[in-house]
Symmetry: C2
Subunit: 458 residues, 2 copies
C-alpha cells in the first residue's frame, strides 16, 4: 500500500475496539515467576492476595493460562469516552529527520488523566465496585496514575485515597488539584498518616519519598480500613493485562493497512505501557509466527533492566508486599532528586523481566537531558507536548530512524506515546532555562542497594 | 436512526475534512459594519490594514462576498495532525441528568494548545510565512491563543512575540513554559517594552492588564519592527472564517447520522469559537433553509452581548487599532481580578454583533461559580476537565437539557467544548477550596466605561 494511502491518524471504529484483553502469559513457555508470601516464601494464592486486592483482580494476577479475558461492557463503555486512541503516522517527523523509516506512534494522551493509565484504572475501579467496596487506596509518582484512578473512582462512585511521592507532589502542584476535582484525597508520601510513613520519616527526615514508600503507606491504609482495597497502576500482571488494549488496537490499526512493524519501542518504568503495547506482537513472537525487535527504554537514572539484577525483591520499601522476581535496583533505591517525571520504580514487571531474561526483548537507557531534547524537537514537529516518560520512547525511536537514514533501510518503527506533559512544566522550565542536569548512579550506589536484596533462592 | 447507532464519538475521515472555509458574511443580508480608520473615520481598505496585518489576511478580513475560501494544502496537512476533532455524544451526561434531550459536543481540546485557537493560528502563520515575514506579534489572555500561535509559528519557522495579560501570566505560570518550549518570547502586559505599555503603567500602576492593553503593545511592536505583522486570535472576521472548520465538521458529522440540532450553544468572548461553530447552521438560517436556536454564553463579569452597547468602539485600550461596530463594554473595561479564565475581551466580533442585533441569535450570561459547578460535574461524568471558557457553554447546555427534562422534549443540543482546563488549576483550586467568588459589574461601572465610547454615528 502506498505511503499516500495511510492517513495521518488511523482510527478504529468503536465496534473495532477489542472485546477481550489478551493475556500474554498464556503464550509464555517460561511463565513469570510467582509472587511469594514474604513470611512463608511460598507462592501467593488468591486467598493470600484477597485482603490487599479485589478478588477478581487477584484472580487475574495469578492467571497464567486464560488467553482472552472479556472486557465487561461497563468498562468498554467507559473506554468509548476516550478510545480507540489514534495510531499516528509521524509524517512531519519523518520528513524533518529525512529518514526512509516509517514512524508510527500510538497516542494514549488524549484523555484528562493524560496517559494510558486510565485503561487499567477503570478496570480496577470497576471490579472494586462490583465487589461492593467503599473505596481504594493507591500511590502515584508522576501523578498520571493517581489522576487516572481519581477519574475512574469518580465515575464508579468509589472513594479514592492517593499517596503521592513527595517530590512529585511538590513538582506538580496542579496534579493534586485535578485529583481533588475528581474527589480524591491526596497526601504527600511519606506522611504521618501511617505507621510505615512515620517510621520512614524518622529514619530519613527530609526524604523526597519514593514509589516503594508510597506503596507501603497505601497498602497499610487499605488493609487496615474496612471496605477498602489497594490498587496499583503498573508492574502487576493484571495491569499489563488491561493495558493490552493498547497493543491490540495498535495491531488492528496496522493490520487495516497491511503494515508489519520491524521495531516496537516503549518506555518502561514498571512496565504497564510497554507490556500493553507489545502484548499481541510478543504473542506472535512467542508462538513463532512473526519476529519483531522489541525495545524497552528506561531512564539512565533509574536503570532496572540495563543495570539491575534479576532476582526476588520486595515490591515496596516497607517490605509488606509480596516478593516478586524481577529486574530490580533494590527496594530502597530512590532516583536522584533531579530526576524529573515518572519511570522511577525500583523494579520491573515480572512478565517483562522474564521476557527480557529470555532474550525476547532489548533494553536501552537514555539520559534525562537527551530525553528533553527529543521531547522539545518532537513537540515542535508533531505538535504534541509529550510527557517526559513518553519522551524516552521518542528519543529511542528518533535514534532508530536516524540509523535508517545512515543505512537506507525503510524500517517501520512503532512507539508508544503514553502521555502528555502538561503537568511536567517545572521540568520543561528547567530544560528551557538550560538547568536540566543528568544523574547516573555510580556502581557503588547500585551495589549498596542491591546488597539488600532478600536471600531467596528460587 | 436509533440511539444505539450513534457512536460515542463521531469522527470524520481525513478526506471528509472541509476543503474550504465558509465565509458566513457572504450570506448575510446586513453585512457586519466596516472597520473604520480611527483618523479619518472612513472604512479601512486592504492598503490601510496591510501595515498591521498580512496582506492575504487583510483581504480575508474585508471580503464580505466570497462564500468559500479554499484551505491551502499546507494548512490542511497541519490540521490533519489534530483534526478532524470528534463530535461527542454525551451519553453519560444525558443518563446522569435523566434528560430526554440528546446532547452533543464538538471537542476542540485534543491538541497541545488545548483549544480551537490552533485552527486560526496555523492559517495566520501560514500567510505570514507566505508573505516572507520574519515574525508575528500578538496578545494572549487565558493563554490559549498564545500557545496556539507559538505552535503554529514553530511549525512554520516564524518568530513569535506574545504579550500576555499580566493577571493570566501570574495565574498560569506554566502557559509561559509551553510557549517557550515552542520558542516564543512571552512578556507580561502592560510592560516597559512599549510606549503604550509605559503610558498605561504610569496611569494605572499595579494594573492587572487587559486584552485591550496587550493588543496595543503587540500592534506597536509589529508596526515598528521590520518584517513583523500583528495577528489576533479572536474578534476579527478572518478568525471566524478560519474557525468555520469547527462548524463545517460538526455539520458533516451530524449529517452522517441524519441528525438535525434544535439548539446550538457556544461560549463567547471575542466570538472565535461561537462564530466558527455556528457558521454553516447560521448560513442555512440566513438563507431560510432551516431554523435553529443559537445561543451565545458569556461571563456575567464581562457581559458584552447582554449588557453592552452596539456601537463603534476602539478594539484596544491604546486606541491605535481600527474602530469596530460591535457590542462593547467600552475599550477600557477590565473584568474584576477574581474573574478566572478567558472570555475577558471588552467587545465582540462585528459579525456576531450584527447577527445578534438582527435577532438571529440569543445571548445569556452565567456567573463564575455556576460555571465551575458545571465544569466539575461535567469532568466527573464525561471524563474531560474543561477550560473555564468552555464550561460556560456546558452550564447553558445542561440548563437546556434540564428544561427538556421538565417539558419532556427530546431536543437535540449541540455545544462547543472549546478546550481543556489543564492550565486553569489555580482557578479550580479556588473552586475546590470553596473560595470561588462572583463579580457582576454594577450599572454605574458599565455606564462609566460606556461613556467613553467614541462619538461615531454610522
Amino acid at each position: 500500500m502506498s505511503k499516500q494511502e495511510v492517513p495521518y491518524k488511523i482510527y478504529l471504529s468503536e465496534d473495532e475496539m477489542p472485546k477481550a484483553w489478551y493475556n500474554l502469559r498464556a503464550d509464555m513457555k517460561n511463565k513469570p515467576a510467582p509472587l511469594l508470601n514474604p513470611g512463608t516464601l511460598q507462592p501467593m494464592t488468591v486467598e493470600d492476595l484477597s485482603p490487599v486486592f479485589c478478588e477478581e483482580l487477584a484472580k487475574q494476577e495469578l492467571d497464567n493460562d486464560t488467553k482472552e479475558i472479556p472486557i465487561p461492557d461497563d468498562i468498554r463503555n467507559f473506554y468509548k469516552m476516550y478510545r480507540p486512541s489514534p495510531l499516528v503516522r509521524a509524517y512531519p517527523l519523518e520528513q524533518k529527520l529525512g529518514t526512509p523509516a516509517k514512524i508510527y506512534y500510538k497516542f494514549e494522551g488524549n484523555n484528562t488523566s493524560g496517559s494510558h493509565k486510565l485503561n487499567s484504572a477503570i478496570a480496577q475501579a470497576y471490579y472494586a465496585k462490583k465487589q461492593g467496596l467503599k473505596g481504594v487506596t493507591t500511590e502515584t509518582g508522576a501523578g498520571q496514575w493517581g489522576t487516572a484512578l481519581s477519574m475512574a473512582c469518580s465515575y464508579m462512585g468509589l472513594d479514592c485515597i492517593v499517596y503521592m511521592v513527595k517530590v512529585s507532589y511538590e513538582q506538580k502542584p496542579f496534579r493534586r488539584e485535578v485529583m481533588r476535582t475528581y474527589g480524591a484525597k491526596v497526601t504527600p508520601s511519606p506522611s504521618e498518616t501511617t505507621n510505615i510513613g512515620k517510621k520512614i520519616l524518622a529514619e530519613h527526615p527530609g526524604t523526597n519519598g519514593s514509589l516503594g514508600c508510597a506503596i507501603s503507606e497505601a497498602v497499610e491504609v487499605a488493609t487496615s480500613t474496612e471496605g477498602y482495597r489497594y490498587v496499583l497502576g503498573s508492574v502487576l500482571n493484571q495491569v499489563l493485562l488491561h493495558q493490552s488494549v493498547i497493543g491490540l488496537e495498535t495491531k488492528a490499526a496496522l493490520d487495516k493497512y497491511d503494515i508489519v512493524p520491524d521495531v516496537i519501542i516503549g518506555c518502561a518504568g514498571g512496565g504497564s505501557n510497554l507490556g500493553g503495547l507489545i502484548a499481541p506482537f510478543m504473542g506472535e513472537k512467542l508462538r513463532g509466527e512473526k519476529d519483531y525487535r522489541i525495545v524497552a527504554v528506561e531512564p539512565a537514572s533509574c536503570p532496572s533492566f540495563t543495570r539491575g539484577k534479576f532476582a526476588y525483591d520486595f515490591c515496596d520499601t516497607g517490605m509488606v508486599c509480596p516478593l516478586a522476581k524481577m529486574y530490580t535496583l533494590g527496594s530502597d533505591f530512590i532516583p536522584s532528586p533531579n530526576h524529573a517525571g515518572g519511570l522511577r520504580y525500583h523494579g520491573m514487571s515480572t512478565t517483562l523481566s522474564q521476557l527480557y531474561h529470555d532474550g525476547l526483548m532489548d533494553a536501552v537507557s537514555v539520559e534525562q537531558s537527551k530525553v528533553f531534547e527529543a521531547a522539545e524537537e518532537f513537540a515542535r514537529i508533531e505538535g504534541i507536548l509529550p510527557a517526559p516518560e513518553s519522551a524516552h520512547a521518542i528519543a529511542a525511536a528518533m535514534a532508530e530512524a536516524m540509523k535508517c537514514k545512515e543505512t537506507g533501510e525503510e524500517k517501520t518503527i512503532v512507539f508508544g506515546l503514553t502521555g502528555t506533559g502538561y503537568f511536567d512544566l517545572v521540568a520543561y522550565q528547567k530544560f528551557n532555562d538550560g538547568e536540566m542536569t543528568d544523574y547516573i548512579p555510580g556502581d557503588d550506589d547500585l551495589a549498596e542497594s542491591l546488597a539488600k536484596l532478600p536471600n531467596v533462592d528460587r
